[in-house]
């Protein structure tokens, strides 16, 4: 007769518990490397996106702050000086020869020099930048609402996404890019920023132009934007997930 709690039983239990934990951990890592399991987990992201759209309106505004809340030094993350000769040449002349190309499914493909963008209606907003890593920083951004630029180029009815192509080349050799849908593209706080904290946008923060999409995480807010394309689908761009980090397993809709 085995008495509950006898040494042999306890040893067995401890051993069973230990190996169960090890098996659990190894199992989790193995599942993460399969094709099907991350797909299953992705349903959580789809539910997140649906819940966020259900709870907040298309035009809900991100919180704006006061000058007193500004981070003393706005953190630069990812690339801080693109390793691209063409970009570095532009930077050497203070981006005097730079122009933003906007094309794709639009009636009037156009180029926008920095001077032209600065001459358009501007918006200044003090907002919180939330990185997917977990940190936040507060900065004052000035730029052209993306809606103003879109009004000039006149998107065609079949255009559904706005793709941002960037100058920065990442460690694995791929170029940074991002995409948003038209809800975010036309959101009042979505701006193409050329100034940070009242000064020209520093190179470390994405000069000459970065996009601000205030209701999503930092990686959506592409720096060093060189070209904007309106597309019906982003499946044909790079690895097809809609952005550099999306191609590496992060969510396309980065609302949480």
């Amino acid at each position: 007769m085995t008495i509950p709690g006898s040494p042999s039983r306890r040893t067995f239990l401890a051993a069973a518990l230990g190996s169960a934990c090890t098996a659990l951990l190894t199992g989790c890592d193995a599942l993460s490397k399969t094709q099907w399991f991350p797909k299953l987990l992705e349903t959580g992201e789809h539910l997140n996106h649906a819940a966020q759209r259900l709870l907040t309106s298309r035009k809900s505004m991100a919180q704006e702050f006061s000058e007193a809340d500004l981070s003393p030094d706005f953190r630069s993350n990812g690339t801080d000086y693109p390793d691209d000769p063409a970009y570095r040449a532009l930077a050497a002349s203070q981006f005097a020869d730079w122009a933003l190309r906007v094309d794709g499914l639009v009636n009037r493909p156009s180029n926008f020099s920095l001077a032209r963008l600065r001459g358009m209606r501007s918006r200044t907003q003090i907002t919180r930048h939330d990185c997917v890593e977990g940190w936040s920083a507060i900065g004052k951004w000035t730029g052209v609402p993306l809606s103003e630029v879109l009004a000039v180029v006149q998107p065609q009815p079949q255009a559904r996404y706005v793709v941002f192509y960037c100058a920065d080349i990442m460690d694995d050799g791929a170029r940074y890019y991002e995409s948003v849908d038209l809800d975010d593209a036309y959101h009042p706080q979505t701006i193409l920023a050329y100034a940070l904290n009242g000064r020209a946008l520093p190179i470390a923060n994405g000069a000459p132009l970065r996009v601000r999409i205030e209701r999503q995480l930092g990686y959506k807010m592409a720096k060093y934007v060189m070209r904007i394309e309106l597309v019906e689908t982003f499946k044909t761009v790079a690895d097809g997930q809609g952005g550099y980090w999306e191609d590496r397993g992060y969510e396309w809709y980065a609302g949480i």
Binding site: M1, T2, P4, G5, L24, L25, C28, D29, S32, P38, L40, L41, E42, T43, G44, E45, L47, N48, Q52, L55, T56, S60, M61, A62, Q63, E64, F65, D69, S71, P72, D73, F74, R75, R128, D130, C131, V132, E133, G134, W135, S136, A137, I138, E214, R215, Q216, L217, W245, R248, G249, Y250, E251, G255, I256
Partner: protein, 323 residues
């Protein structure tokens, strides 16, 4: 185990018994007339007096299923949460991480003058060396700078994107399971009957605290009821900590922060909510440790069986001292 001589009872009669019989909670070791079908085991004598016992359905199937789903969900949420924490292993109060003020908590690594890596944990300005577990730990046989060690995170290696997938999927499992449990508890009166403290419970709270400190547990028929501290702890988890940790998680969403600009300030801003999310997670870990400890010392196999098959064994022996 020898006690298999219990007369057959229909599930319904056991259920009725479990639901209808009430015993005076104010007197935890009182033994009144035992159950309607006492099982008597002639061989099982303790201290010369006969031990009577019976089993009854303590946890219904729905509760058992939801309990074990919760175990999996909380384990995965905790460990994938630590993976996410590792991507930026510092906590702050306020809206921003870069406000000029130092973090509330930081787990980091630095090198000694001889070039050895050491793990450092700073809490409210106090520094602790935590090499081996926090800050610096072994990964693939090498000392590596990482906040929480591989054995505490899902997945093991640093992999933020995958950690987030696990976390959000199981957050939904946890939320749906929890919402179903609350609805179930209200509708079946599980909440009223088993979880809300009775007037007698409130009166016995002092003695219940003493009993817990002395590791004494109700025996006999009194063991059929949750004690008052247990009830209050479950209620605190159900209606305060678990909803709060979910709210703190939602508060980290820039999209949901736009629901009503400024609502996150109520909880100390986005970074404050991240910190509270972490602190509540620690409180849940503490709950689990105490819960498992109590399960072990108040009759491990009986408790475990009751959460698997549903059946809990009550021993009624007037001369048996409470363990």
């Amino acid at each position: 185990m020898t006690e298999k001589s219990q007369p057959e009872q229909s599930l319904d009669s056991r259920l009725d018994e479990a639901l209808d019989m009430t015993f005076p909670a104010s007197d935890p070791i009182a033994v009144r007339s035992p159950c309607p079908h006492p099982a008597i085991a002639p061989d099982d004598n303790v201290g010369g007096s006969r031990v009577k016992y019976y089993r009854y359905l303590r946890h219904r199937l729905a509760v058992r299923i939801m309990h074990w789903i919760n175990v999996v969900a909380i384990a995965v949420l905790l460990m994938s949460g630590l993976q996410i924490f590792n991507a930026h292993s510092a906590l702050y109060w306020g809206q921003s991480s870069y406000s000029g003020r130092p973090p509330v908590l930081q787990i980091t690594a630095r090198q000694t003058s001889e070039g050895r890596p050491i793990g450092v944990t700073r809490v409210l300005g106090h520094e602790f060396k935590t090499t081996g577990v926090l800050g610096v730990s072994t990964q693939d046989g090498q000392l590596t700078a990482r906040a929480f060690p591989t054995w505490a995170t899902i997945p093991g290696p640093l992999w933020l994107a995958m950690g987030r997938r696990w976390h959000f999927f199981f957050a939904w499992v946890f939320f749906v399971n929890g919402a179903l449990y609350v609805a179930y508890s209200v509708l079946t009166r599980h909440l009223n009957r088993d979880l809300l403290p009775t007037r007698d419970n409130w009166r016995s709270i002092g003695r219940s605290i003493l009993d817990h400190l002395r590791l004494r547990h109700p025996t006999g028929d009194a063991a059929r009821h949750y004690n008052v501290l247990q009830k209050l702890t479950y209620l605190l988890m159900m209606f305060a900590l678990l909803p709060l940790i979910m709210l703190m998680g939602l508060g980290m969403s820039p999209r949901l922060d736009s629901l009503w600009p400024g609502w996150v300030d109520v909880f100390g801003g986005r970074q404050g909510m991240r910190t509270l999310h972490f602190i509540i997670a620690c409180a849940i870990v503490l709950f689990v440790l105490v819960h498992v400890f109590e399960v072990i010392i108040s009759g491990f196999w009986n408790n475990l069986r009751s959460m698997i098959t549903g059946h809990y064994e009550v021993r009624t022996n007037p001369h048996d001292n409470p363990r």
